[in-house]
Amino acid sequence: MSRYILKRLLSAIPVLLLVSIAAFVLIQLVPGDAAAIIAGPDASNDEVEFVRRQLGLDRPWPLRLQDWIFGLAQGDLGYSYILNRPVTEAILERLPVTLSLAGLSIIFATVLGVALGVLAAVFHRSWIDALAMTVALFGVSVPNFWFGLIAILIFAVGLGWFPPGGYVSPTESFTGWLSAMALPALTLGTASMGQISRFSRSVMLEQLGQDYVRTARAKGLGQGNVIGRHALKNAMIPILTVIGISFSLTMAGAIIVESVFSLNGLGRLMLHGIQRRDYPVLQGGMLVIAFSFVIINLLVDILYSWLDPRVRYD
């Protein structure tokens, strides 16, 4: 088992390296004088030259790439001359907001998505199936930023159940945090919920037709046991992959949803980065999201081996 995990960890390294190179290349694509852009619009000639030397933009690209990779290895994502602080620091400050948003919406999407998918499969071709799949189809079809605005209109402005935006730290007030994150998490999780329930349904349908399900019934086990334990544990193996993919969808969606709900997270930081052409921040944010995707997939694979003995022992 540990051999398997080790192998997966090692195979993630080249992907991480490629991702880092991709983020590096991105900045090279910026048209015009990168140093002038990064230094900011108000920078003097001397300042631009200083930035050029600091960033090593006067040196050949292989050396710069090398510096970038070595910096990354030490957790250094570069320096933002517009924010006047290290990118890593700026991102770390915003990360809790984005992580709690993404985490809550994935929990919401997984719980509701799997439940709907399983119900739809168990009551295949009944009104329950139709209803669950309509909800799922709504989830994958509705634009999340619009859904968020409508949710604010109804639940925050109209009914006054939740605040219309802003972040509350859970260490300050846990209930405040939950109520502040409820609408954003719902908004962000809706698409993943739809995707997860559509997929869960087809996987579950497949599992319910398997011989071992008939065996479980022949043993006299109840419906709950047959579906909730025997079939679901098998179904969760492929469903996990989709949850992993959904997580990356969620991290990217956070950029938009944070803007709808005025949450000062990584997404908004990046958005400001785009508006102010603060490329080091944009680059750092992209890298963090891509890394989180690779790490989540790694976790998914490790969970796999815990769920599926065939993977564990191979």
Binding site: L26, S141, P143, Q195, I245, M251, M286, I289
Partner: protein, 288 residues
């Protein structure tokens, strides 16, 4: 119970699957057709231009004269939504063309030449580690806003998905006898791929293109909304919603109608994708 499957394949499947696939395809097709028609005929359907302002007619709620109401400049929302459809559908179409072209080229190369498979697919892995939307945002941010850049960004961002599907089909197909036969008769790789492999690998690609279209409409709207899409005053659906956002509490119709337009378009495309998948390739998993 070996004969069971054979028997089922022609009784149950033929009857129930046909109708099960046709219903979503039909509903989706009709809705999508109406949307395309409305977008195409947009200029003739309303008396106002999408950018015609009128100080007298600001913030008017839905009425007979302005079924979808007007915005802060007195522009007719219906006209803007219809024009937005023009832009959104056009972008969607361009995106699926580019992503299919790139995806097929990359996927076929990886699938047919075993030596290139691993390096190409690792690059695809890295590409997919950036969520599509993020990649599009980054490219649009670097290249600058504008319709062409949005199309390029999304087209490139969706290519790995198509590539993966094409590669998988090609891998299976190239093991088959008719390909061996073609190879033995001296056909070159280009001929084999183009003439023998791709035509047989198209069904899942078509299904995927429908879903990518749906995703591209959503992504373009999101890009416009956060300000990295086609710049205002271009009446894209995302731009109209971004405009309306400031007046969300007082003039919610500005936000409501373009959102519904996006929702219906994406919904109809997803329905068509579901139907096509069940019809063309029942075994494809429901990952979109």
């Amino acid at each position: 119970m070996t004969d069971l499957t054979a028997f089922r394949s022609f009784s149950t499947r033929l009857t129930t699957r046909m109708s099960a696939a046709h219903l979503p395809l039909l509903i989706g097709g009709v809705i999508f057709g109406l949307i395309v028609l409305a977008a195409a005929l947009g200029p003739f359907l309303t008396p106002y231009g999408p950018e015609d302002t009128s100080l007298m007619e600001r913030f008017k709620g839905p009425s007979l004269a302005h079924p979808f109401g007007t915005d802060s400049f007195g522009r007719d929302i219906l006209s803007r939504v219809l024009h937005g459809g023009h832009v959104s559908l056009g972008i969607g179409l361009a995106v699926i063309t580019i992503s299919a072209g790139l995806g097929i080229a990359i996927g076929a190369t990886a699938g047919y030449f075993p030596r290139l498979d691993n390096p190409i697919m690792r690059v695809m892995d890295a590409g997919e580690a950036f969520p599509t939307l993020l990649m599009a945002i980054a490219l649009a941010a670097v290249l600058g806003p504008g319709i062409t850049n949005v199309i390029l960004a999304l087209g490139v961002a969706y290519a790995p998905r198509t590539a993966r599907i094409v590669r998988a089909s090609i891998l299976v197909l190239s093991q088959q006898q008719f390909v061996e036969a073609a190879r033995a008769s001296g056909a070159g790789p280009l001929r084999i791929i183009g003439l023998h492999l791709l035509p047989n690998a198209m069904a899942p690609v078509v299904v995927q293109m429908t879903f990518i279209f749906a995703d591209a409409v959503l992504a373009e709207a999101a890009l416009s909304f956060i300000g990295v899409g086609p710049p205002p005053p271009a009446p894209t659906w995302g731009n109209i919603i971004a405009d309306g956002r400031t007046y969300l509490y007082s003039a919610s119709w500005i936000t409501l109608f373009p959102g519904l337009a996006i929702f219906l378009t994406v919904l109809s495309l997803n329905l068509m994708g579901d139907g096509l998948r069940d019809l063309l390739d029942p075994r494809l998993k429901k990952v979109t």
